[in-house]
């Protein structure tokens, strides 16, 4: 059971991407489940993903990177014992710290039988300066980017070439080793590459 985390700040396009990627991965013959953590206990994202015919487990009541990490592990255990998906895609809240989730998953790999796929972090190219300006926001978004194995520069269809280049330079400054993929769920740019990475890449703890 491979765990792939698709993180990124609020509104970066995680839910839309997960719907698109899950279909691609499922089309390739893999059984996929999605674990969604919404901010607040009235979930929206899980319901939207379910609407597209995908298998979803919702976790509410706080952030899985800190407040409800235990619930995440129990949910992974339940999935491992029950539906036994080959891949679980975790959509954390937009304010989650990806490394905290990765560590929690790996510390409990004995219980869940999980292997770790790549941590994909979305970065909204239409909001580069905003996201990297304010203190708290900058600290959070910077942390998310640094924790990524892959950074997907999202909404490139809405950004000029210059704005996308600017976003890529900003991301590269923060994370010198991550693979950077330009992504649009509208045009499909980058989707096939990301789906391949999810299937093929395994990360050592």
């Amino acid at each position: 059971m491979k765990i792939v985390q698709i993180a990124g700040y609020l509104g970066s396009g995680k839910t839309t991407l997960i719907i698109a990627l899950s279909r691609k991965v499922a089309e390739a013959g893999m059984k996929v489940a999605i674990l969604v953590n919404d901010v607040g206990a009235v979930p929206v994202d899980g319901k939207v993903i379910e609407e597209y015919g995908l298998t979803v487990k919702d976790i509410g009541g706080g952030c899985i990177c800190c407040q409800v990490a235990g619930t995440m592990i129990r949910t992974l255990e339940t999935l491992a014992k029950g539906p036994k998906p080959e891949m679980i895609i975790i959509e954390p809240t937009g304010i989650a710290v990806p490394e905290s989730i990765r560590q929690t998953v790996m510390m409990n790999a004995g219980k869940t039988g999980a292997v770790l796929g790549p941590t994909i972090v979305l970065f909204d190219t239409t909001r580069t300066d905003k996201l990297l300006t304010y203190d708290t926001l900058k600290r959070l978004v910077t942390t998310q980017i640094r924790d990524a194995d892959i950074v997907a520069l999202s909404k490139v269809d809405l950004s000029s070439a210059d704005a996308t280049d600017h976003a890529e330079r900003a991301v590269r400054e923060l994370n010198q080793t991550a693979k950077i993929i330009r992504l649009s769920t509208v045009t499909g740019e980058g989707l096939a590459v990301l789906a391949d990475q999810m299937r093929e890449v395994t990360v050592q703890a």
Binding site: L10, G11, V39, P43, V44, Q67, D124, R127, Y134
Partner: protein, 138 residues
């Protein structure tokens, strides 16, 4: 059912980001068309996001909602700019009542302010469309 989650109690990266989520049932005197529901959803997103900015929010991080009734499902959201509200989903037949779930996550406003603005935005926008919130749980 309304939910109020304290996000910044344990993790410093959550500082100054607050959320409010609520679920209710909305009714209309006569069936509301899918087009009208889409307009309602978009205007609701814009109303909440605009009010957050007016109140001093540093960023409208994500305001999102879904509307569900017997034959339709619409989801709406806005990020950053209040005028960028997006509505997608299945239209369905005109509906006399529907479930509405709204989730606002805002950077730079207190939890209390996010709650008040979200509630006020729902009530005002519903009023503009001749809709009434009936009870908290479907």
């Amino acid at each position: 059912m309304t939910e109020f989650v304290e996000l910044n109690s344990r993790n410093p990266v959550h500082d100054d980001i607050n959320s409010y989520g609520m679920r209710c049932v909305v009714t209309a005197a006569k069936p509301v068309s899918a087009d009208e529901l889409r307009r309602f959803a978009a205007e609701l997103m814009t109303a909440i996001a605009s009010a957050c900015i007016t109140a001093g929010a540093k960023d409208v991080s994500h305001v999102k909602a879904f509307i569900e009734h017997d034959t339709g499902f619409l989801h709406a959201d806005t990020v950053g700019n209040p005028d960028n509200a997006k509505v997608e989903g299945r239209n369905g037949k005109p509906a006399e009542s529907f479930e509405l779930v709204v989730n606002s996550v805002i950077y730079g406003l207190s939890a209390h302010a996010v709650r008040e603005i979200t509630e006020s935005g729902i009530n005002k926008t519903a009023g503009l469309f001749g809709l009434v919130r009936t009870h908290a749980e479907k």
